[in-house]
Symmetry: C2
Subunit: 354 residues, 2 copies
Amino acid sequence: MEKNAGAPSHRESSTVRDVAARAGVSASTVSRVLGGTYPVAKETRSRVLRAMRELDYVVNAHARALGGAANKTVAFVVDDVTGPFYAHIARGVEEQAAAEGRLCMLCTTHGDPQRVFAVVETMREQRADAVIVVGGAWDDKPYQDRMTHFAHALDRAGSRLVLVGRPPLGKGVPATVVDYDNEGGAFAMTTHLISSGRRRVAYLGRVPGLSTSSQRIKGFVRAHEMLGVSHDEALMVDGTFTRSFGYQGMRELVASGADFSAVFAATDMVAAGALQALREDGVRVPEDVAVAGYDDIPTALDVYPALTTVNIPHEELGRAAVRLALHRDQFPDSQHQVFGTHVVVRASTRRSGD
Amino acid sequence: MEKNAGAPSHRESSTVRDVAARAGVSASTVSRVLGGTYPVAKETRSRVLRAMRELDYVVNAHARALGGAANKTVAFVVDDVTGPFYAHIARGVEEQAAAEGRLCMLCTTHGDPQRVFAVVETMREQRADAVIVVGGAWDDKPYQDRMTHFAHALDRAGSRLVLVGRPPLGKGVPATVVDYDNEGGAFAMTTHLISSGRRRVAYLGRVPGLSTSSQRIKGFVRAHEMLGVSHDEALMVDGTFTRSFGYQGMRELVASGADFSAVFAATDMVAAGALQALREDGVRVPEDVAVAGYDDIPTALDVYPALTTVNIPHEELGRAAVRLALHRDQFPDSQHQVFGTHVVVRASTRRSGD
DNA sequence: GCGGGTCCAGAGATCGATTTCTACACGCCC
DNA sequence: GGGCGTGTAGAAATCGATCTCTGGACCCGC
């Protein structure tokens, strides 16, 4: 019996050979029609196209990727897709990736550093064009060494590590860094709070060892120093970047009888929880206590009162990450790009007179 | 010169042959160490493992996928990752996919039906184990025919189409359907509103042709009929599932002087916008007007007053989608699974006496 | 001592598409 | 009419890992 002469097997999808057989040409010719970069006689081409349609043929992306051609995939690694912060960056990444004809692989790590490594390793296996890691980094040395190792490994394979919203790994490490002015935003917000007369500002949600947290606190402290206002260590509350911590932490702070006239929450989610706690405790916002957040997620508009926060250009970060990584040969000098942040004043910090 | 005898090229990542050469064995042996399913002498194995470590070797997923082995990828198609509704389902999908040792490809369509087709086609090329499409479907025939075609094409290729939150394509179509009791939730909510004494309920955000919308409205209408309350077509406002429509639509409804004592918003996002509009118009919630949403996204807790809404088990939908699709041979009878929904009563519909 | 079994490892085919490299026509000019 | 470009298409090698088939080494018992 002739091999591949009849109809293709029922459980399998068809291959170039099936198409070739049906069109009465060779596999090479089918491939050339597919690629379109090589002259094929008009009549032959249409015969091949018809055969492809009739067999409902689609190329095998793996076979194509194996044959040297780039794999056209961008990997995206986040803690948790559910967080609006990540979701909006994800959107930017996905949009730009689509615009550049790339697919987008999504991986979540649930804040577990070990999973970051596992996931990046998997992305090396997938030969992704770029691996974009989003969110705060851990300060410890082994972690950074490991990321540096990945940066080199990816580079060797012709891929690229991209760090979004985290500090660079050091000189000479082949990685793209897309960051926002984290410290500056915290500085501006703290200044806003203090200069509006709130001299005792609590910081809700310090995460020791997390770069995002450290930078915000640096800005927070710097603003105090700049304005000659001493800040009280007792008003620094350790926690996580979650709504539930915001609620718990705020309740405890109020219960402790601490003296404060403003709360700078580490993120908008934390602020949302804090607002609920204050409401339940009968503390008026902004009359008794001003509340500010960080990130400017959509929910900031919906909490009551509307939340003063620091805006981060999330989607632009995502788009830049993809763009810079894929065209790194065109932008060799902007492989560390920092976007600006700015304070958005809403009702939660407004003075009655304003 | 011996081929592959020296160090691997500097710009390329190493292959099994490189590892084999370094360990002084054949490629087959390296592969067997990798797979672990075939006996390899202990001493040989450790030599190979060391060589892999020294060369920082990772397998080429494409080469592996080409050799028959399943590709271990689940595709996830949504309108927009930014929406909390999708984000939470995405999380369920991602978690379950990770638990099953699968990677997750994310694609967004921005509500464009054409992009759905393009994306699903790409997923066929990628030979994904399952293609999960989330969100309302369009009622028109060509759209459904095309989806049916994809269902068959994926099935032929050993993959699976999964529809989440959308109606089945018909008898005999090889697809997994994971749905929630959309109509029942709307029915329950409408009943809740009417039986608490609000006899004139506005529906904010009808989207003609979208299955999600039609089902909710069906429940809305059925509740009216059941309770013997007539509903007013003038209180049905067409729109989109967005916060900004919620705001606009609500303002216009108030400005029109329409008579209503409750608003059933098509989604929580719509409700959030509506609440802002009502606040700005000086309408008190829930005293003057009760407001309810649909989806139970986290923001429902943060709006003011806290939003009464219909809970959907988002993450469970996502997990079930992956589980049922990958183990469809084990669950041949539950390829159309419907999850329950339930009303969550919060402040936005509460009577003062409650 | 030799057949028979077990254990381990190499050679080579294979997956599907691309990409040389090769070859056959055809038309054209000298 | 023979030589030569040009246009078109096939045969075969290639990518990297896996899988089958084959075969060598070694131990065992009779």
